[in-house]
């Protein structure tokens, strides 16, 4: 049962790490805002909570000397998943500090980079926090105040990772992956039709408009065909009835 608990907690940490990365990528761009800074702060705190919970659970499991070899191999695999997540989180936190310092929000001469991204990231952070909607309640100067906290948090995370390395003796290279190459292709939610049309625009440019347009043409042709069928059906019905 410990294994399943661990897995769910790791999945949660994994989700928060992925969302955090998306948020950090929006920093400094035209998507940046007070709300983004607050989202980063909240997501960070959640990530740290999950990290501490995961660490206590996994270290407890690994310290137990009475587990079978298979169990131990599995726990080591989970440990590698955990440390890799933490490494990503650590790097992203440090980068968010640097970019946050470089792009203060209140200075009028400081312009955000016009990256083409203009929408908000509230849905991403809602996903990370596992809530329906995000509530924003921070002060106006969160962009400078939060940075001090961030520095201390980074120091905490660094210390935690050092302790982890010292106390837990797991050789990461000895772990064998359960997934094979291309495993990500299975069991992913299939992409909806509309998003396929838009995302494929970022692909081979010479064909970009052509791909989009042939897609549209196909949709139009389909509509016309069904309309013709309907009309033929109605006419036939009328003919039979008359």
């Amino acid at each position: 049962m410990g294994k399943d608990e661990c897995k769910t907690m790791l999945d949660a940490l994994n989700k928060v790490t992925a969302c955090f990365r998306h948020l950090v990528i929006a920093l400094g761009s035209t998507s940046d805002s007070q709300n983004l800074r607050e989202e980063l702060k909240k997501t960070r705190k959640k990530a740290q909570e999950l990290a501490v919970a995961n660490r206590t659970k996994l270290t407890a499991l690994l310290k137990d000397k009475n587990i079978s070899k298979d169990d131990r191999a599995e726990y080591e695999r989970l440990w590698v998943l955990f440390t890799s997540s933490m490494e990503l989180l650590d790097v992203d936190m440090k980068r968010s500090l640097e970019i946050g310092q470089d792009f203060p929000l209140k200075v009028p001469t400081r312009h955000l980079i016009q990256t083409g991204m203009t929408g908000s990231t509230t849905t991403v952070s809602a996903r990370a926090m596992s809530v329906q909607n995000m509530k924003y309640e921070a002060d106006a100067n969160i962009d400078t105040v939060d940075l001090k906290e961030l520095e201390t948090e980074i120091a905490q995370v660094d210390q935690m990772m050092e302790e982890m390395e010292m106390k837990v003796q797991v050789a990461p290279w000895a772990v064998e992956a359960k997934q094979e190459a291309g495993a990500e292709l299975k069991s992913t939610v299939s992409v909806g039709n509309s998003s396929v049309g838009v995302i494929s625009i970022c692909e081979e440019e010479p064909k970009e408009t052509v791909e989009g347009e042939t897609g549209l043409m196909k949709v139009f042709a389909g509509i016309i065909f069904t309309a013709v069928l309907l009309i033929a059906g109605i006419l036939g019905y009328l003919v039979i009835n008359l």
Binding site: N14, K15, G28, T123, T188
Partner: protein, 475 residues
């Protein structure tokens, strides 16, 4: 009016190009931006190449060509990325569209580009393209799967989560994010045919911009360095500059960096004819190569093909023992330590002893030193004799070689290849067909085979010819 970040304690100061990018964002004085119209959506903040060039030229008061070069540098490093033709990282001064890259994806020395991130990116791309990755991407993916296998579960998990998180954003932002990520990886893992600005060689152990603390150790080092500088032997600048000028005038047409090389430089056109024509043991050398043999004796000896030609000439003159001795000495100097003693003894027996089969003519003093040294042989025991023979060959045989029929024959047969004229599409094809060159293991094997062949065609009995040479030297 540039604003520096005042609360950054980072000793590595921000690169100035980032300040330029920040200036370009100003809504009044920056680069004009327009909207990119795609099939269903419109995305703002697209800039044209010509606007970028005009802005840079105006800001720094430089001409259009230099502004274009500077803009290309910004694109090559990944501060700006092209929206069309994304694999070619150049700035086209026309209406082609570009966009600024988000600060997270800016190049920075302190943030290493991790293979883990690249693996996650490839996995995400695999999901989006439903398994149809490009050839080079597929190769990279397979490689990463092999050597990052222990992290692969994490990579798959993280890729799926990042993909799902990405879908939470609105459509235009999703398109922009995909383009940004793709542009980042084109810069840092360039596809075949893309010139990367990121090849910078080895990482330095010390950061050159960091101020060094003035400890006693530091001053001790500086003192030692200055003392050694004073002790260095000095040459008159007229002499050294004269030598430099002579060298550059002789070699200026032979340097492939400073002069076009024929048929074409493989680094530019991805066509390896130049290298195949200049292989170490090619049958017919190129005209440029043969010309280099006339510059100095050292050039002739260092080129394997030139040495082979010289050996042929000496064989015809029955004085091959000098070159053979010289080569044996080189073999002793550079060879393995365990066979050294036997090699030295063999050389003595073959070349130096009284009545040896291939006796070489060195003066009495050198012979004395060499024989004494051979009592306790080491790598450089035959150095004096080797230098003597080298000078002998240089002053005597080299001159005759350059006038000989062997050399004239080689000169006549030498090839002068026509320069290539590739079209754009041919260049792209060449880039796609790029493959690693011959493995050094195979080249070494070929060298060994050559050496074995030479050894097998044993030495000629030349004791009679020795007396002929002595008579020639007396005259």
């Amino acid at each position: 009016a540039l604003c520096q970040c005042t609360d950054s304690n980072d000793p590595i100061t921000r690169p100035r190009v980032e300040n330029v990018v920040l200036e370009m964002q100003d809504p009044k004085t920056g680069v004009k931006s327009q909207t990119q119209r795609l099939v269903i959506t419109t995305i703002p903040h697209a800039i044209t190449g010509e606007d970028i060039v005009a802005w840079i030229a105006n800001r720094f008061k430089i001409d259009a060509a230099e502004a274009r070069a500077m803009g290309t540098m910004m694109v090559a490093f990944g501060y700006i990325y092209p929206l069309q033709d994304h694999k070619r990282l150049i700035l086209k001064p026309d209406t082609s569209l570009y966009r600024f890259q988000t600060p997270y994806f800016w190049p920075a020395q302190q943030w290493l580009v991790e293979d883990t991130d690249y693996a996650i990116y490839l996995a995400k791309r695999n999901i989006r393209k439903k398994g149809m990755l490009e050839l080079y991407e597929q190769e990279q993916y397979n490689n990463l799967y092999k050597w990052m296998n222990h992290k692969w579960d994490f990579i798959v998990m993280q890729a799926k989560e990042q993909y799902r998180a990405g879908k939470e954003r609105k459509k235009p932002d999703r398109v922009v994010f995909d383009c940004q990520e793709r542009a980042y990886w084109v810069v840092h893992r360039p596809p075949p045919g893309t010139v990367s600005a990121m090849d910078y060689g080895h990482d330095r152990m010390v950061d050159p911009n960091m101020e060094e603390k003035k400890t006693p150790d530091y001053y001790r080092r500086i003192i030692m360095f200055t003392q050694q500088c004073i002790m260095r032997p000095r040459v008159k600048s007229s002499v050294s500059i004269g030598a430099l000028i002579k060298y550059t005038t002789t070699y200026k047409e032979h340097d492939p960096f400073l002069h076009t090389c024929f048929p074409s430089s493989p680094w530019i056109t991805d066509d390896v004819t130049y290298w195949t024509l200049n292989m170490p043991n090619v049958e017919t050398p190129t005209k440029m190569r043969v010309e280099r043999w006339t510059f100095s004796f050292g050039e002739l000896l260092m080129d394997p093909r030139g040495r082979a030609d010289f050996r042929l000439f000496l064989k015809k003159e029955f004085s091959g023992e000098n070159l053979a001795f010289w080569e044996a000495c080189e073999d002793l100097k550079w060879g393995a330590a365990e066979t050294m003693k036997e090699k030295a003894q063999q050389i003595y027996k073959t070349f130096l002893a009284r009545g040896a089969p291939r006796w070489i003519n060195i003066d009495g003093k050198t012979m004395d030193i060499t024989v004494k040294g051979l009592a306790h042989p080491h790598r450089y025991v035959l150095d004096a004799a080797q230098t003597h023979i080298y000078m002998l060959m240089k002053k005597d045989s080299y001159g005759r070689y350059l006038k000989s029929p062997v050399f004239k024959e080689t000169q006549k047969k030498a090839v002068a290849p026509e320069p290539h004229r590739f079209t754009e599409t041919q260049l792209e094809q060449n880039a796609k067909r790029r493959r690693p060159s011959l493995s050094p293991i195979i080249l070494r094997q070929q060298e060994e085979e050559q050496k074995a062949k030479l050894a097998a065609s044993g030495p000629v009995d030349i004791t009679q010819v020795m007396s002929k040479l002595e008579r020639k030297q007396k005259n």
